[in-house]
């Protein structure tokens, strides 16, 4: 009778990292469904294409690093990165844009830093920031929203989307009607006051605004589910959203004709996606609970600052990356007080 000799504890909660990642991927579905509903197949195709690129890149690097493929691929972390990128990139982003962003995210931002768990920066956001800076034109054109339910569709169909993204497939390319996101439009409203801006149907259709609201609510739903499943704590999303709401309320209250409403900030861009799926990436975030509050609040404030006074209409990627820098420092100063100790020293 060969008895096992192992160290305690002998019980562990069932589950593994792959399970956590898969749950997060699943939680993006409501938001992704909304995006698909309003903007067509583009994001879905992006997600699939990015996923493929991510798995290939991950496998290649793992082979180079002489690591077992199956063991590491089944943690689904590369897939999650790809999903987040596919959601973030414009629906009709050309195939090479997704390829560059995903490959850079996996190979450089993740594996060159040591792979899973070792990367100081959020890989998806690194990839996103790279293509945003390198290919601003492709990155800032977003499809005009149109419900798939509408018959006279301005939104391309599946095949049309596919051939637009992969032009070498052949077939008819769709001449998409692109338009700015609400945040982008607001930022470039020129001399108009906020009231004037909203009254002009030209800038942002109510349809577009509604589409973004719905997508944001979708991500909010997924995020709340993840908190319920204890995949992450409420600290980062809540502090980020609260900080953003607070700062936007302050400015909006003082000058409502110049500053966007809190509603636009919270639901108009990538705020919800960022708060629940990007900022909560545990590898790159602060770890202590108190630290998470600071970390989330920092992201919220940075997003607002960059949106208002930076060059880019949205700023989640930059804000998250900037706070990634600060996370170790935050951790250092937010050690919890250990049982029996007077202070955190």
């Amino acid at each position: 009778m060969a008895l096992l000799r192992v160290s305690s504890p002998h019980l562990t909660r069932p589950g593994n990292t792959g399970g956590v990642m898969m749950l997060v991927i699943l939680a993006t579905l409501p938001g992704l469904a909304m995006l698909t509903w309003f903007f067509g197949w583009g994001n879905l195709i992006n997600v699939a294409w990015a996923g493929l690129v991510a798995i290939v890149c991950e496998s290649l690097v793992l082979l180079l690093r002489k690591r077992p493929l199956a063991f590491y691929l089944t943690d689904y972390s590369a897939l999650l990165t790809a999903v987040l990128l596919g959601i973030s990139l414009p629906p009709l982003a050309p195939w090479w844009l997704t390829l560059v962003a995903t490959a850079f995210a996996i190979i450089v931002a993740k594996h060159l830093y040591g792979g899973m768990g070792q990367n100081p920066f959020n890989p998806a956001m690194i990839g996103y920031a790279l293509v945003l800076i390198a290919f601003p034109v492709e990155m800032t054109s977003w499809l005009a929203p149109q419900s798939l339910a509408m018959t006279e569709s301005q939104t391309p169909g599946f095949m049309e989307t596919l051939t637009t993204i992969f032009p070498f497939i052949g077939g008819e390319s769709f001449d998409a009607v692109t338009m700015a996101t609400p945040l982008d439009a607001f930022k470039h409203k020129g001399g108009l006051t906020a009231e004037e801006f909203w009254s002009t149907e030209l800038a942002v259709s109510s349809q577009s605004w509604r589409a973004w609201q719905m997508a944001s609510l979708g991500f909010l739903l997924g995020g709340v589910y993840l908190i319920y499943r204890k995949i992450f704590t409420w600290h980062i999303p809540v502090s980020m959203l609260a900080a953003m709401a607070a700062i936007s309320v302050i400015f909006w209250a003082t000058d409502p004709s110049s500053y966007a409403s809190p509603e636009l900030h919270l639901l108009g861009g990538a705020t919800m996606l960022g708060a629940f799926f990007i900022a909560t990436d545990p590898v790159t975030a602060a770890t202590s609970l108190k630290g998470k509050l600071y970390y989330g609040a920092g992201i919220g404030i940075l997003v607002y600052l960059i949106r208002n006074w930076g060059n880019y209409p949205d700023a989640v990627a930059f804000a998250v990356l900037l706070m990634n820098f600060v996370a170790p420092l935050i951790d250092h100063y937010t050690q919890p007080r250990t049982y029996g100790h007077k202070s955190t020293k």
Binding site: L4, L11, V283, P336
Partner: protein, 786 residues
């Protein structure tokens, strides 16, 4: 029951798995075929055996006494015979082996004497504590700390609250639960005794709300009878590890045990349910701790339940008693699944701290999943009951940054396993912490050890320095005395033979006179060997040397004579050394007069002038010839070789000594060295007579040897020369010492001046040798110290 509760940080809710072992009543004791009783079942000193192999022991008889304050006694669990006191494997995570007492039960289960305390309320606290101590009671919750020590906190600590730890938060374990259900009255009685000893104001029984039967049983007892010290059953939420002492205190009182302190520091003492019953049995019935309630559980067992088991019962017998299926048994855990440790041997005994034996199948406790990368999810930090950052501790432990781990309070980790339990990457976090703690302990131990070594070394160094300084002072005094003596000599130039303890000049004069006498004696004694009595070496001598050289050559060894160049070098060396000696030595060094040096030179010149042509190893045939002759002389001179050997070198120091004499002396010295080269004392003796010439020659000989050893390791001659060669340095030192040294008191005995001089020099030489050996010792110490 409506008491305000507090929560502790973190905690987990693993599957409880308790019901399978609470279906049947506690089974009574059975007497196993053999009892193995480790002398170390507790924290503290190992117990001292009181019986010998072959002794018959009665049930409850003390078989090992506590050794020191923090220790515990041991009793025979049943009557029988002690068969051995021997090393046996212990139930311990490390599988270590310790002294155990083996008892063969006789099956009679015959009690020895029992001394109960009739009314504990009337008894002195000391008597009660002694009773508990003599009963060998230790904490039965797991740690095994001697209870009598815990119940005797320092006088200045006021204990207001006694907490009975009835949480039993670990999955699977139900020993305390069943004990409370069945013997609630004994639990409460024991609690009262403990509270009485501590003079506590209140008792709190902290019990998880998953034990309703036990809660009811306790409450019934409390309701039935008014207790002297108020007892309150406090139902706490089920959460692991609420049964941790610190956590339970926090839940019940909201207080935290200060870092590095004990609960008594905040007026609290915690006791386990089983311990309370043991105290009751000891005080009220005079029964020592010889059995305990243990949970036998796990799917590899056909029956699961609790049993009152005799301490020392082999687990093998216990498992078969519960009908184990060996084929199914995959992991055998002593203790619970969260903090217990695996056993790989079923021959181990049940000890005082054995609250559970978990015989698990592979399905029940699957093999650990492969460790994945940490994703810093922070679930561990949320689960940690000590509010640590397990993730950071993990990184620090893994990268061996132990100082950082310490600054993150690694040592506050109670190893409850909650972090490992929740980790989605299946990282065995606790194992990393155990590793780091072990390494830190090890480093600390080494640091302490090296600190001690350094302190010892420094103390020794200081002592040696002091001794050295004292010696130096003495030396200086001596040197001054010698200088005065020299001055006196210069002024008086009187060859007084009188014994004057202070004047070195007299000593020198004596020596010179003696030397002269010796010279005369030598000249008269050895006319056959020394054909020429001139100061220079005679031609005959050289001729003989040549002959000897030829003879050597015939012997097969090619030993051409030292080349002129080498000799020149030797001379230079001799001069150098002479000069150096003058520099180094104090006034006494002037004992070697310029005349002497001149003579030495002359003798060297003679050698140089000798018609030697064939180059060879630095040792010339001439030298060997001389040495040979000297040996003959020595034997001729007196039958006592050492005596003559000594006498001749002595003579060479005298100023009037001829070069020939010195050469002879040298040869004699070489001879004696060859004869007994390894002994330091012998080396010192001939060295006294060494002139600069001698040293030069010796040097040459040494060089020759080295060359010879390289060229012809088999060469006998060179081998013979080895000993004196190696001692050259020694001799030179000895000589210098001799020169530096003040002339000692001339002896009053009929000893000749020469003898006295000899004795003195030998003494100084030996002193020097001592100093040298001390130096060597010191060097060795330093090496060791490093």
């Amino acid at each position: 029951m409506s008491r305000q509760l507090f929560d502790f940080h973190g905690g987990i809710h693993p599957p409880e798995n308790k019901t399978q072992s609470t279906q049947t009543a506690i089974e009574p004791c059975f007497i196993p075929g053999k009892l193995v009783l480790p002398l170390q079942q507790h924290i503290g000193q190992q117990s001292k055996p009181l019986v010998l192999p072959g002794d018959r022991v009665l049930k409850g008889q003390m078989i090992a006494a506590s050794d020191g304050y923090v220790s515990a006694a041991l009793h025979a669990p049943t009557s029988g015979t002690v068969t051995a006191i021997t090393a046996h494997a212990l139930p311990h995570p490390s599988g270590l082996t310790e002294t155990c007492m083996i008892i063969d039960p006789d099956g009679k289960d015959e009690w020895g004497e029992r001394h109960a305390i009739a009314d504990y309320r009337q008894a002195d606290k000391e008597i009660l504590l002694q009773q508990i101590r003599d009963a060998g009671i230790t904490g039965l919750g797991g740690a095994g700390f001697p209870t009598a020590v815990k119940l005797n906190p320092s006088e200045d600590l006021r204990i207001d609250t006694l907490i009975l730890n009835a949480a039993e938060c670990e999955p699977y374990i139900t020993a305390d639960d069943m004990l409370m259900r069945e013997r609630a009255n004994e639990v409460v009685a024991g609690l009262q005794i403990i509270a009485h000893i501590l003079q506590a104001e209140q008792c709190l029984i902290g019990i998880e709300d998953n034990k309703p039967e036990a809660i009811k049983a306790l409450q019934d007892v409390l309701d039935a009878e008014q207790q002297e010290i108020p007892v309150r059953v406090v139902r706490i939420p089920t959460k692991y590890p609420s049964g941790g002492e610190k956590q339970l205190i926090q839940i019940l009182t909201g207080k935290e045990v200060p870092n590095g302190g004990i609960p008594a520091d905040i007026g609290i003492v915690c006791q386990n349910v089983g311990t309370a019953v043991a105290v009751y049995r000891a005080v009220d019935h005079g029964e020592p701790l010889i059995s305990r309630i243990t949970t036998l559980t796990g799917e590899a067992l056909d029956r699961q339940g609790n049993i009152e088991v005799l301490l020392g019962t082999p687990i093998k017998e216990l498992l078969s008693h519960f009908e184990v299926d060996p084929a199914q048994l995959h992991r055998l855990v002593m203790g619970g699944p969260m903090m217990g440790f695996t056993l790989t041997d079923t021959d181990l005994p049940v000890v005082k701290a054995t609250n559970c034996i978990l015989a698990a199948t592979r399905k029940e406790l699957p093999d650990p999943a492969p460790e994945q990368a940490c994703i810093r999810c922070g679930m561990c930090a949320e689960a940690c009951p000590a509010s640590l950052l397990p993730q950071q501790l993990y990184w620090f432990s893994k990268s061996r940054e132990f100082d950082k781990a310490l600054s993150h309070n690694l040592l506050d980790c109670i190893e409850c396993g909650a972090c490992s339990y929740v980790c989605p990457s299946n990282i065995p976090l606790v194992q990393y912490y155990r590793f780091a703690k072990g390494e830190i302990r090890h480093e600390e131990h080494e640091r302490t050890a090296s600190d001690h070594a350094r302190q010892r070394f420094e103390a020794r160094q200081a002592r040696l320095e002091q001794e050295e300084a004292e010696k130096e002072a003495k030396r200086k005094a001596r040197a001054e005395a010698a200088a005065t003596a020299k001055k006196a000599k210069q002024t008086t130039k009187d060859d007084s033979a009188e014994v004057d303890p202070k004047a070195a000049v007299i000593q020198a004069a004596l020596e010179r006179a003696q030397a002269r006498k010796a010279q005369k004696a030598a000249q008269t004694d050895k006319p056959s060997t020394d054909e020429t009595k001139s100061a220079a070496m005679s031609a005959v001598e050289r001729a003989k040397a040549k002959k000897a050289q030829q003879a050597d050559a015939k012997e097969g060894a090619e030993k051409p004579v030292l080349s002129a160049v080498e000799r020149a070098k030797a001379r230079q060396a001799a001069q150098n050394q002479a000069a150096q000696k003058e520099n180094n030595s104090n006034a006494a060094s002037d004992g070697l007069s310029a005349l002497e040096r001149a003579k030495a030179k002359r003798s060297l010149n003679n050698e140089t002038a000798s018609p030697d042509e064939k180059a060879d190893k630095p040792l010339s045939a001439l030298e060997r010839a001389k040495a040979k002759r000297a040996q003959q002389v020595a034997t001729d001179d007196s039958p006592e070789a050492p005596e003559s050997v000594e006498a001749e070198p002595q003579a060479t120091t005298s100023t009037g000594l001829s070069a020939l004499e010195r050469a002879k002396a040298k040869r004699a010295a070489a001879e004696s060295d060859a004869a007994s080269g390894t002994e330091a004392g012998d080396q010192a003796q001939p060295s006294t007579g060494l002139s600069a010439l001698e040293r030069a020659k010796a040097k040459r000989a040494q060089a020759a040897e080295q060359a010879a050893n390289q060229d012809e390791p088999d060469d006998k001659d060179s081998a013979q020369q080895k000993a004196p060669g190696t001692s050259v340095l020694e001799r030179a030192k000895a000589k210098r010492a001799a020169q530096q040294g003040e002339p000692s008191e001339a002896a009053e005995k009929p000893m000749t001046a020469l003898e006295r001089a000899k004795a003195k020099r030998a003494q100084q030489a030996s002193e020097q040798a001592e100093a040298a050996s001390e130096e060597a010792q010191q060097a060795t110490d330093e090496e060791k110290g490093d």
